[in-house]
């Protein structure tokens, strides 16, 4: 795998849309061609080269290309948006939409990520060493198609609305989360290893939510059905299993009603 390193040399005045920073866009291009790729600051169109200097070499294909981002890119959005393969490593905090709509490859954020991390993601892997904000793995505002595949792991805390309208894939929050987890979900798994304020699985039709810590305000639409042992993220624990949301429409598969599951660690 070839590595290309981009280092911040000029901070934008506003926030910069770095939708061009993906292995798919970089693959097969020379450093000069990469520096020519567009980036938007508000309505002004710039080039990536106006903000970054580039070293190294891009691979022939996306899968053969690794991008390392250095410098403080806290005010830059959309790294790895729609990427299909390869790798992006961000050695900084980053702003919104990191890995949105990605279908493959891997993104590592060695810092915090802002809102809309991995929204409507279809595949691949995102690892955030710090915290993430709201809408991790959710659908775009108004859309009914959230994350459908892949893995998001946040080692710190996350905010609200995790996995909204999720249909597949896995989200692991190793710290705490606030409210709205797996709202409207029709599949997928969300594992929260810390505490959750409440509203887990509202209007969930299908999917699995795991809460290891304290769930302060559970929803009334869930009913306890069993105590089970399950292997989660490489270790086995005992959970109380709840099904729901009982107030939502029911889906049948092979004659049996499917419910969403909420597992609370004992």
């Amino acid at each position: 795998m070839k590595t290309i390193t981009m280092t911040l040399v000029q901070e934008p005045e506003l926030y910069l849309e770095c939708y061009s920073v993906t292995p798919d866009q970089f693959a097969g291009k020379s450093l000069a061609e990469i520096a020519d790729l567009p980036a938007h600051e508000g309505k002004i169109q710039w080039k990536l080269g106006d903000f970054f200097k580039f070293e190294g070499k891009a691979g022939e294909t996306a899968a053969d290309t690794k991008i390392v981002v250095n410098g403080n890119v806290r005010k830059m959005k959309r790294f790895g948006q729609k990427m299909s393969a390869g790798e992006v490593v961000i050695n900084s905090d980053a702003d919104m939409y990191i890995g949105g709509w990605m279908t493959g490859g891997k993104i590592t954020v060695n810092g915090n990520a802002d809102t809309f991390l991995g929204i409507a993601m279809e595949g691949g892997e995102i690892l955030v060493e710090g915290d993430a904000q709201n809408y991790v793995g959710s659908s775009y505002r108004g859309d009914w198609r959230g994350m459908s595949g892949g893995l998001i792991r946040v080692k710190g805390n996350a905010g609200n609305d995790i996995g909204t309208a999720m249909t597949g894939g896995t989200i692991i929050i190793e710290g705490d989360a606030f409210i709205h987890v797996l709202t409207h979900a029709e599949g997928g798994t969300v594992i929260i290893k810390g505490d959750v304020e409440g509203r887990v699985g509202g209007q969930m039709v299908k999917g699995d939510a795991y809460v290891f810590g304290n769930l302060l305000y559970p929803l009334p639409g869930f009913k306890k059905v069993a105590t089970v042992e399950k292997e989660v993220d490489g270790a086995t624990y005992t959970f109380d299993q709840y099904i729901g949301d009982l107030g939502e429409r029911k889906v049948k598969k092979k004659g049996e009603i499917i419910y969403g599951n909420l597992y609370l660690k004992k």
């Binding site: 659908s139 775009y140 505002r141 108004g142 859309d143 009914w144 429409r249």
Partner: protein, 572 residues
């Protein structure tokens, strides 16, 4: 005094019977004329196809329902907002949205396809100001709107009491109050029944409380329409839309027109326009044995000259359904569980909105696609069968060029069939695979201009290249003598004109907007209705007792109506 001469093009103008001859078209001061002086600006259309500006008889592009769709679907704009059209002088306006485009995109995209007139398919009378405000903000296109009458309490009572003159007086009063063009009927009785949690799925289901049937409503409105001699006929979205087996209800609706004759001074021959007939041509008893009823429907339409239809072609896209048929939208939401908006408009109508994906990998969607095309391919008189997608219900209007491609090329139809997961089942439940008919440019001109203009009663102004009509012309990059063998090139030619000319002004050149001349709002002004004390009494009573607005605040203000152009009718 501006003059324009379009030379050497292959002209297709069904209104004057020109079938692809090389004829020059002259425009002077915005109107088609016989000849112009030597100072006229000349457009060389050699090797190109020349038609009148397109006319859309049924499209939902303006008003409260469309705007609610825009608000409830931010995702319809996503990754689809980068194109800026319009002219530089006005700042190149953003063209946003796909199935529910912004007003700017609506005007520009229609103009780029060579259309210069659209008829808004459903205007809730109470909310008419919103429709007219969007007209003002939709560039280039001349527009009209049809107020909905099929669930209106005044009409129910007058029809039930057989008070034709009072009903006609009310209709002409409402056309004036809302600046509407004609009578739209959506799920007659059914939307009112929906306010009671019910529906009317046949023409004989009585409406709760009012105890009147859809059949009586439709006949009563046809009688009033012909009594007034309105330019357009009654425009119907019938009962039981979108359900398997509904072709029988559709035939029942069409038969209601049998005893009536068109009476008007506009050259209109039909008394009933059945819109988006694809949605009404379904056989079978469930989605499992769902199949095409296009043959049965078109056999009837072909032999009854007092009916026109538009096809409502499914384009296999992700779109947004929106209709005054409230119960239907509820039903649709129960099928797809996406999201749903529902509105009741006081004494008049209601509506619903649901996003919908016509997926080529779903059998039913494939059959729906086939039915729309079959309607057009079974038709014997294409002046009476018009191209629409019931925008945005069966697909966005920007897909008209694709619909034209399917109608003109069996190869294109086969290519689309080949992409369907349940191709064999779609073929088994429809006739499309066995139909080798391919329409020509003359038929396309009938279906997109001359036919709809005639059915609207506006063919002396629109959809025509005859002397005296507005100088609206579309010039396509298509050599009529050498049509491309690749159907995609037909679609591309209809997507972006070489020139679109609006009232003698070039508004599109090579697919780019180059001018935004003034536009008109068309409406029907009825003269000669005597003072009607009963109507004034009923209006006062209903506004005092039932409406949330005052009578004085109800009508559209004059300053709401952008460049009004009244079509006048006289009642003897």
């Amino acid at each position: 005094m501006t003059e324009l001469l379009i030379k050497n093009g292959y002209v297709f103008d069904p209104i004057s019977g020109i079938k692809g001859d090389k004829t020059d078209i002259a425009i002077k001061d915005g109107k088609i004329v016989d000849k112009v002086s030597s100072k006229a600006q000349i457009i060389d259309a050699a090797g190109k196809t020349v038609m009148a500006g397109g006319v859309d008889i049924h499209t939902h592009v303006s008003g409260p329902k469309v705007n609610t769709g825009r608000m409830m679907r931010p995702e319809d704009k996503f990754f689809r907002g980068s194109y800026r059209g319009g002219i530089v002088k006005q700042g190149k306006r953003m063209e946003m949205g796909y199935s529910i485009p912004s007003t700017w995109k609506t005007g520009y995209a229609y103009a780029r396809m060579g259309f210069t007139f659209t008829n808004e398919a459903a205007m809730p009378p109470l909310l008419a100001p919103h429709v007219h405000e969007e007209f003002r903000d939709t560039p280039i296109l001349d527009q009209s709107a049809m107020p909905v009458f099929g669930n209106n309490w005044f009409c129910f009572e007058y029809i039930k009491n057989k008070e034709l003159e009072n009903n006609a007086a009310y209709i002409s009063w409402l056309l004036n109050a809302t600046k509407g063009i004609g009578i739209k009927v959506v799920n007659p009785g059914g939307t009112e029944a929906w306010a009671w949690g019910e529906n009317c799925t046949t023409i004989n289901d009585p409406v709760p409380y009012f105890d009147i049937t859809p059949a009586e409503i439709v006949k009563g409105l046809i009688e009033a329409n012909e009594y007034l001699g309105l330019p357009h006929s009654v425009h119907i979205h019938g009962n039981n839309l979108g359900n398997p087996g509904n072709y029988k209800d559709t035939l029942d609706t069409l038969r209601l027109a049998e005893s009536y004759k068109a009476k008007n001074k506009f050259g209109r021959e039909q008394v009933l326009h059945n819109t988006h007939i694809q949605f009404h041509s379904y056989k079978g008893t469930s989605w499992g044995d769902f199949e095409s009823g296009a043959k049965e429907i078109m056999d009837y339409v072909n032999s009854n000259k007092n009916i026109t239809v538009d096809i409502g072609q499914v384009t296999l896209d992700e779109t947004t359904t929106m209709t005054a048929d409230g119960p239907f939208e509820y039903h649709l939401n129960q099928l797809n569980h996406i999201k749903w908006a529902n509105v009741d408009v006081e004494l008049e109508t209601g509506s619903g909105i649901v996003p919908y994906i016509y997926d080529k990998n779903i059998k039913v969607c494939g059959i729906q696609w086939a039915i729309g095309l079959e309607v057009a391919l079974f038709a014997k008189d294409l002046m009476r069968v018009h191209i629409t997608t019931d925008h945005p219900n069966a697909g966005p209007f920007t897909k008209y060029p694709c619909v034209i491609k399917w109608l003109m090329s069996q190869k294109a139809r086969e290519a689309t069939l080949d992409t369907m997961k349940w191709k064999d089942k779609v073929i088994a439940a429809s006739n499309i695979a066995s139909m080798d008919k391919e329409l020509g440019l003359y038929e396309i001109a009938q279906m997109t201009r001359a036919g709809p203009a005639k059915a609207l009663g506006l063919s002396n102004i629109y959809g025509s290249l005859a002397k005296g009509a507005d100088g609206n012309v579309a010039i396509y990059n298509l050599d009529a003598n050498k049509l491309p063998s690749d159907p995609e090139l037909i679609e591309a030619a209809f997507q972006n004109t070489a020139y679109t000319i609006k009232e003698g002004i070039i508004v599109v050149k090579d697919g780019e907007i180059v001018a935004e001349p003034p536009k008109y709002t068309l409406w029907t002004k009825v003269n000669g209705i005597p003072d009607n004390a009963q109507l004034m009494h009923d209006l006062k009573e209903k506004f005092d007792k039932n409406y949330t607005v005052n009578f004085e605040n109800y009508a559209v203000f004059d300053e709401h109506v952008h460049n009004p152009r009244a079509i006048e009718v006289e009642v003897a």
